[in-house]
């Protein structure tokens, strides 16, 4: 079965640079979520999209933005990178994001971002 695809898997950037992370959700899933996970931490919700429209915002810094395109893939754009942005970034998708009976999330393998 198709899974959530994320690219790149690893990314190294310098401070103040920009980064773009990509996510390809499972086909026919209507909701995409972005999470940030620091070492030993739980996934922190950043932002989500329902049917290509931004639906919820969590602890996403103003330096970050995201969008979902007509083909349902999503991109997380990060600017003015700081050392503290080093983390694993997960994308997840769900089918029936608005229905509490069916909104289980399927996570991608993550992008490990290191800011030097």
């Amino acid at each position: 079965a198709a899974g959530v695809i994320q690219s790149p898997r690893h990314l190294i950037k310098e401070k103040r640079e920009t980064a773009t992370l990509k996510c390809y959700p499972i086909p026919r899933h209507d909701t995409v979520y972005w999470y940030q996970q620091g070492p030993g931490q739980d996934p922190q919700f950043l932002i989500s999209f329902y049917e290509k429209m931004q639906s919820d915002k969590g602890s996403i810094p103003d330096r970050f933005s995201a969008q979902q395109f007509s083909d349902y893939h999503s991109e997380l754009n990060m600017s003015s990178l700081e050392l503290g942005d080093s983390a694993l970034y997960f994308c997840a998708s769900s089918l029936g994001g608005r229905d509490p009976r069916y909104n289980e999330q399927f996570f991608g393998p993550g992008t490990r971002l290191t800011v030097l």
Binding site: T31, Y33, Q41, D42, P43, Q44, F45, S48, Y50, S55, D56, G58, F90, A92, G97, R98, P100, R101, N103, E104, Q105, F106, F107, G108, P109, G110
Partner: protein
Amino acid sequence: GQQVMQIPQYQHVQEGEDFTTYCNSSTTLSNIQWYKQRPGGHPVFLIQLVKSGEVKKQKRLTFQFGEAKKNSSLHITATQTTDVGTYFCAGPSRGSYIPTFGRGTSLIVHP
């Protein structure tokens, strides 16, 4: 805002012993989801409970959702080394679609 607490943070067990992790939310949940994350891996969905008092089993794993829909537990019988990982509970409070994750319980199984 909603807070989801999990205890314990770490649990060391000998292979064959049982293990339980507890999840408590500060608000009533629409559902509770459980995920397992292996070291270096990504969270993998295990199960979702929706009804008050619901109990579900997956082989050696038993999941419960409290009557008030504010707490949940995961019990593993006779742990195996393949059970190693961090177990997260996550649940959206009523009126929200975004699950808040607990801090997770890291299970270490000693052979």
